[in-house]
């Protein structure tokens, strides 16, 4: 069986500056991959390119999602195909209620899956159930999208959307940052609840702590636009202990190893 | 009234034209300007640009346009604390005291010289025929000048603009085309003064060309105009990466109109306009700004603060104009005024005209009174009310001075402002 997500030698630049300098990665259905790496190494860039942000320039490489050429798809097509990004910095949309926003999104995704759209009542009960999993305030759906949310509320809102839209591949970009320890557990439990043999995750984080709760199958280190290390859980612990400097000294010599089933 | 003045001007023009030895190109331009002026006349309040400013008090007098008989420098004390001007413009006629190194001053005769160094006529950046005051200046300015800055100036250059109306009402018309060379930086201080017992109208036209990456600071320091009239038009064109800052300190003059027109013609240029206005008595101060974003990635900022007291009027009209294609524009504009008397007036017209979509343009205009709570706070600390009031006025209106290029200049400006608010200067030490 081929991987759900296949990234081959992806090179990406923004404003003429090369950020990703040849990233290759396979994520199979059911796997959880963690990506760690110092600030500015290109983690969010990778996530953004996968989600289809247009300001990034793909210089080289190929990305297949479920066999489809991902880079040729519009952002909404990717979302409908089951790719979900939990944003590092979710944007505020004044005046648009979460309920409106999410029902619109959900019905688009359902349409793509050949499911019937949910009417407002069905939507409410569906959404409320998932809100309860994350211990969210009932007025959440009435509030404008991310407007005036605390950092933690925004992150929780992203995971809530993940629960709602049930994607096939979820990319979590530092969903743990800014969360207190209880919130972290809640978020992790939400993610774990979604784990299944059909669903994959890419978890971007700086802290191995999150990986205590969301246990990854593979850990990658992204350094200066390349994956310089790939290992198991223990790699995260090692990074926590030693930082990234030792990788710097090994520098470019470390060849990326691909995560394999 | 206006008709009488226009006729008086026409007669003077005919006389001047006969004795003129100027190159014909220049003379033709003067004549066209005069004809445009005679044809259109001076604007009235029905003219959108002059809606709140009646020129009636200005147009009452029959101004003499010729240079005064005496060529001697009067003993003038310009802005206190500033070094004496290096260049005087007396009724529009230049008197060089001492030019800084790298600065070149040339007069009209050079404009139409034969051969390689043919200079463009002045009037590239202003509407010579459509704008009555530019036309007036073009027709009569005694000595159109170009001032070229080839090197960076270590110190601000001071230019004294004086109109002398000792014997008769006089029209003083400086005309200056300034050019700042690529990559250099300079600061120019224009201090305005009126001299004599008769009314005067200073009608200055300054054109500024900023070459790529040039940086220029300009101060229009209107402190010595007493009850005279002044119309100043400053028009600038900025090439890529150029930076211009203009401060208009309007502390004197019975009727003062300041036009500041900026064209951001090259990418990533930046313009900052600041204004501090103190209007007391029957004064009328009218600020007009127009900032045109013509190229991509430019930024502009305007911050004007005004006090209108007694029977005074402050008008502000500011336009941000973003041309098609001027993407990634950032433009900001604010006029905030305190209206302090039942007889005073503030009119504001902040305007946005936008033809590109990747922009962020904001403007704000507020008119109000002193913050009563702040006043109460100061009084509760034992400061007498009158004093507290002045302190708050000063604090409100000085904000645009903060960005002045040097501490020394800022202190001077603050001192001058404090004097106009009649605060003892020690309060600010």
């Amino acid at each position: 069986m081929s991987a759900l997500l296949q990234i081959r030698n992806l090179r990406v630049a923004i404003e003429g500056k090369e950020i990703l300098r040849g990233v290759s990665l396979d994520v199979y259905a059911g796997e959880v991959h963690a990506i760690m790496g110092p600030n500015g190494s290109g983690k969010s860039t990778l996530a953004a390119v996968l989600a289809g942000r247009e300001e990034y320039e793909v210089l080289e490489g190929e990305v297949l999602f479920d066999g489809q050429n991902l880079l040729e798809m519009e952002p909404e097509e990717r979302a409908r195909a089951g790719l979900f990004l939990a944003f590092q910095y979710p944007v505020e949309i004044p005046g648009v209620s979460m309920a409106t926003f999410l029902r619109t999104a959900l019905n688009e995704v359902r349409k793509a899956r050949g499911q019937e759209p949910l009417d407002p009542i069905q939507f409410l009960s569906y959404a409320r159930e998932r809100m309860s999993w994350l211990g969210m305030e009932p007025d959440f759906l009435q509030r404008a999208v991310n407007e005036g949310f605390s950092g933690g509320e925004k992150k929780r809102g992203e995971i809530f959307q993940l629960l709602l839209l049930e994607p096939r591949l979820a990319i979590l970009d530092e969903t743990d940052s800014g969360l207190d320890i209880d919130a972290l557990k809640i978020v992790a439990s939400g993610v774990n609840r979604m784990r299944s043999p059909e669903r994959s995750f890419i978890v971007i984080t700086h802290y191995q702590r999150l990986l205590n709760y969301i246990v990854p199958d593979v850990v990658h280190v992204l350094f200066d636009g390349r994956i310089v290390r790939t290992g198991g859980r223990e790699l995260a612990l090692e990074l926590e202990e030693r930082g990234y400097d030792w990788l710097r000294s090994e520098g470019e010599l470390v060849l990326p190893t691909l995560g394999e089933q | 009234m206006a008709a009488e003045l226009l006729e008086h001007l026409r007669e003077q023009f005919l006389r001047l034209e006969q004795t003129s030895s100027e190159p014909s190109e220049l003379l033709q331009q003067r004549r066209r300007a005069l004809e445009a002026l005679l044809q259109r006349g001076f604007p009235t309040t029905r003219h959108e640009d002059w809606k709140y400013t009646s020129l009636a008090p200005v147009l009452r007098y029959r101004y003499e346009v010729g240079a005064p008989a005496s060529e001697e420098l009067p003993s003038l004390s310009m802005v206190q604390g500033l070094p004496q001007p290096q260049l005087w413009l007396l009724d529009g006629v230049p008197h060089v005291h001492e030019l800084p190194a790298g600065v070149e001053l040339r007069t009209a005769e050079r404009f139409a010289l034969n051969g390689a160094r043919r200079e463009p006529l002045p009037g590239q950046l202003v509407d010579v025929e459509g704008d009555a005051f530019v036309a007036l200046n073009t027709a009569f300015a005694p000595v159109p000048l170009t001032l070229t800055m080839r090197e960076s100036l270590p110190m601000p250059m001071h230019i004294g603009v004086v109109t002398q109306a000792d014997a008769v009402p006089r029209l003083g018309q400086p005309r200056l085309l300034m050019s700042v060379a690529s990559g250099t930086s300079a600061a120019l201080i224009f201090s305005f003064a009126h001299h004599g017992a008769n009314p005067s109208l200073t009608n200055a036209v300054f054109e500024l060309l900023l070459q790529p990456n040039a940086a220029l600071d300009v101060l229009l320091w209107q402190d010595g105009l007493a009850d005279a009239f002044a119309v100043t038009t400053l028009a600038a064109r900025l090439e890529s990466g150029a930076r211009l800052r203009v401060w208009t300190l309007s502390f004197s003059g019975a009727l003062v109109r300041n036009n500041v027109y900026i064209r951001l013609a090259g990418g990533a240029a930046d313009a900052q306009l600041y204004g501090v206005t103190m209007a007391t008595g029957q004064r009328l101060v009218d600020h007009h700004t127009r900032v045109e974003h013509e190229a991509e990635g430019c930024s502009s900022n305007q911050l004007y603060k005004s006090l209108a007291q007694e029977r005074a009027t402050v008008n502000f009209t500011g336009r941000i104009y973003v041309h098609p294609g001027a993407q990634r524009t950032n433009a900001y504009q604010a006029h905030r005024a305190l209206l302090l008397s039942t007889q005073a007036t503030v009119n504001a017209r902040p305007q946005l005209e936008i033809y590109a979509d990747d922009v962020r343009c904001t403007h704000g205009a507020a008119v109000g009174n002193l913050d009563e709570q702040a006043l109460f706070y100061l009084r509760s600390r034992g400061i007498p009310e009158a004093q507290a009031r002045k302190l708050l006025l000063y604090a409100f209106v000085r904000e645009p001075l903060e960005a002045l290029p040097s501490d020394a200049l800022r202190e001077l400006a603050e001192r001058s402002l404090a004097e106009h608010i009649q605060l003892p200067i020690e309060e600010f030490a």
Binding site: E76, V91 | I354, D357, D358
Partner: protein, 481 residues
């Protein structure tokens, strides 16, 4: 509300103007052109009293001395006022009850979503239906009459309530006011009249639905609303017209009068035919709307959603005369393709402690031009007057223009005015966020624009808010991608 917003998005599918059909109704149409005979013709057809003829003729003579205003930021070829017909009315319209209405007219209004049977109407909305120059039906009249509320066509009011009409007609917008007001005064043929007696809260929304049907005619309606002491009324106005290649002129006048403690809420959803993508056809909407808060503590509130018309020229205003009176203006103006809008408000503060609030949202797309123009004037005697203005513009695409021209004139030192404006494009980040969740770009734009306008839409009565949201989405179709 969120639930309905969703509905809106699903309905954004067909991009054509839905109301562009022409109904085959027999109408009497005045000869083309304008002169004193035509005014007599209109006057006669309407069987008006003598004083109306005098008033009309005075207005007409004054109009002839006036120039069409050209200061607005709109461009259009000269209008030939002699090429327009100034009166068109259905032949079969003198009916005793709603049941007798010409079935053709009934069908047309039904098609527009305005059934003329009371039982089919939205509960709580009384409708006056105006077709071309004439009012064809007014619903719930009897029910309102029980409360002493007069809601009828202007023609009827002139016949039945001449004292009220004579006292107030032209008292807020005199015929000398402007070119189009003068023209309207000379030739207006119908419109709505409302009088709410002292202390009465009108229990239902009153609404007029304007429909232009005939070709080469102008529509010149006149609306007069008087809220007596302590009265309250909420009034809605909607409008559509067939798609035609020629431009049609609509020059209405609306006058509102609020006495002591009275409140008038006037809402408009303007959806005149905007012309096609290339700017052919469409309505010229040159309208004078003004209210006066005559009484103490009175309030007038204008809410408008402007999506239609080829050209919009309109500045619903409030004269704040009564002490402590309040004026409000909430506006959404959307322009797309070649539409041009120059709209805003005037708040004239005369009385002490008067307050006004302006919230304007302009959205420009395509090759359109969208201008906010507003005046806030605080006169010498308006002690402690307050104004707050927020006017924002959104640009969609790089070929449109969005402009803001406020005038702020303050003559009183105890007054406080604040004006803020911001122009920007729709946030790329917002769009991307929506799209990452599977929402198409066009829907994302509609969603974000609706959110952007929310503050204004909230001031519309419920039924209209839904309608308005749909309209916003439809008006912006084809503006992205």
């Amino acid at each position: 509300m969120p639930v309905q917003q969703d509905e809106v998005l699903q309905q954004v599918t067909q991009s054509e103007y839905k109301y562009g059909f022409v109904a085959n109704i027999e109408e009497e149409i005045a000869p083309v052109g304008l002169n004193e005979d035509i005014i007599r013709f209109i006057w006669e057809r309407k069987g008006e009293p003598e004083w109306m003829l005098e008033w009309r003729l005075r207005a007409y003579r004054h109009w002839k001395t006036m120039q069409e205003p050209r200061w607005a930021k709109v461009v259009y070829p000269p209008i030939d006022y002699q090429a327009i017909s100034y009166y068109a009315a259905p032949k079969k319209r003198h009916v005793q009850s709603l049941d007798e209405i010409d079935p053709e007219i009934r069908r047309m209004f039904e098609k527009l979503g305005i059934p003329l049977e009371e039982q089919k109407l939205l509960a709580g909305v009384a409708v006056d239906a105006v077709l071309d120059s004439a009012s064809v039906a007014t619903t719930f009249k009897e029910k309102l009459a029980e409360l002493g509320i007069i809601f009828c066509s202007m023609s009827e009011a002139i016949q039945k309530y001449p004292e009220l009409v004579q006292k107030y007609l032209g008292s807020v917008v005199p015929y000398t006011d402007n070119f189009f007001a003068a023209l309207n005064s000379a030739v207006f043929s119908d419109g709505s009249f409302v009088y709410v007696p002292p202390g009465v809260r009108c229990p239902m929304e009153l609404s007029t639905y304007f429909r232009i049907n005939a070709a080469r005619t102008g529509q010149f309606e006149r609306t007069l609303i008087i809220a007596d002491e302590g009265a309250y009324v909420s009034y809605l106005e909607g409008c559509t017209a067939p798609m035609r290649d020629e431009n049609q002129l609509h020059a209405a006048v609306v006058e509102l009068i609020a006495l002591d403690g009275a409140e008038i809420k006037y809402s408009t959803v303007q959806n005149w035919y905007p012309g096609d993508r290339e700017g052919r056809g469409g309505i010229y909407n040159f309208v004078t709307k003004r209210g006066i808060c005559l009484g103490r503590e009175s309030k007038i509130s204008w809410t408008q959603v402007e999506t239609g018309s080829a050209i919009t020229w309109k500045y619903p205003s409030v004269i704040l005369k009564g002490e402590g009176s309040v004026g409000e203006f909430y506006s959404v103006a959307v322009t797309n393709h070649r539409q041009q809008a120059d709209t805003g408000t005037k708040m004239i503060h005369i009385g002490r402690h008067t307050r006004s609030r302006i919230v304007s949202k302009g959205i420009a797309a395509g090759h359109s031009s969208n201008t906010y123009r507003g005046l806030v004037r605080i006169l010498r005697g308006a002690d402690y007057a307050r104004n707050y203005t927020q006017c924002d513009s959104l640009l969609i695409g790089s070929s449109c223009g969005a402009h803001t021209f406020p005038y702020i004139e303050v003559l009183n030192p105890t007054a406080v005015t604040e004006h803020e404006a911001m122009t920007s494009k729709i946030g790329e980040d917002m769009l991307f966020y929506c799209r990452q969740r599977g929402i198409s770009e066009e829907d994302a734009v509609a969603l974000i624009v609706n959110g952007y306008c929310r503050e204004v839409l909230l001031h519309l009565p419920m039924e209209f808010a839904v309608e308005a949201q749909k309209l916003l989405a439809i008006s912006l179709e084809g503006s992205v991608g």
